[in-house]
Symmetry: C2
Subunit: 196 residues, 2 copies
């Protein structure tokens, strides 16, 4: 997909976050947004803590959704969910046909990640998926001087930045991810908290 | 509280809905909204299916929330949650100090409710709580010609109507209730559905 990807103000976006690591299965929540404004739907599934099923579970959750045909973008909050369950964003793009934008609040500490992955027998596989996610771009939105960092699959960096700006109306985090985080923590812990 | 209750566009509202009756405990979800626009937080608790604990559980959930001091209004989706677990809206108002607005998509079928309550040994207690919720007002919002019905405690009908109009930006249902419904069904069933 080229960087002249057409962006309507009401572009349908699925933002996905995970919940606290309380159990072997970790709940993930998807919010279907129109741009940064309205919530059209909520999806829920679960992945294995430190497993390798995140890409497949997220892909299946998307393809089974009644919103699938309207969705244009998937937004992820980093590429590791439920501990070290790494999402292969190129594979997610291929499987769903939907471009993926990864949003991070901080530049990843790759040395630390690599060290942690040494405890996994398949650490190299996970490390390859992390490297494959590609270049990390720094982005400063109008809403907040704190930069965020993005990666992408199936979309140019200019279009990805436009979509992040369009939807970051409440903080420096796009609404689909901010709200997915509130829901995932609120449902599991009884009250939402934290970073967004 | 008089009907000249001051309404800021960003008035903090808690909208509460319940989820499908799959188990003995039924999840309830609260969304903290600023007017009809932004979600500030998510609360979650659970009540007993066909029990009588809804008033107390909701009241405790509100008083324990970090958002309590900022909240100005509680919105309920009808007054029966988790089957026939009736909310005593006067008691909820007294316990929390927050005015309560009840929103209904249809005028309640009181004959049917009364008949169903005959199967409960404490059906009369529940019936009294339902009668006590007071007069039902019909309201037509700008967004949709389909009328809705409201009841209230601790607030005048004019102010209640203003708040419902202010927050019904997406459908004829106020956003805090529309989104609470999407979350409650989405989390329990895997994908949101239905009425809003």
């Amino acid at each position: 997909m080229s960087s002249d990807f057409h962006i309507k103000p009401e572009i349908r976006i699925l933002g996905i976050d995970d919940s606290a690591l309380l159990h072997e299965r970790v709940m993930i929540v998807g919010t279907v947004f129109r741009g940064g404004d309205w919530i059209d739907g909520i999806l829920r599934s679960d992945i294995t803590r430190d497993g390798l099923d995140a890409t497949e579970v997220i892909s299946t959750m998307i393809k089974n959704s009644r919103h699938y045909s309207q969705l244009r973008i998937v937004m992820l909050d980093g590429i590791t969910y439920g501990g070290f369950n790494v999402v292969d964003i190129e594979e997610l793009y291929r499987e769903t046909g939907l471009p993926v934008i990864v949003v991070m609040r901080a530049y990843p500490d790759f040395e630390k990640i690599r060290a942690a992955l040494r405890h996994f027998s398949d650490g190299e596989v996970r490390w390859d998926m992390i490297k494959k996610a590609g270049k990390i771009e720094k982005l400063i939105t109008e809403k907040n001087r704190t930069p965020i960092y993005i990666q992408k699959a199936g979309i140019g960096v200019k279009s990805a930045e436009k979509i992040v700006r369009l939807t970051s109306i409440r903080s420096n985090i796009p609404e689909p991810l901010r709200v997915a985080h509130l829901i995932a923590t609120g449902i599991i812990l009884g009250e939402s908290r934290g970073k967004a």
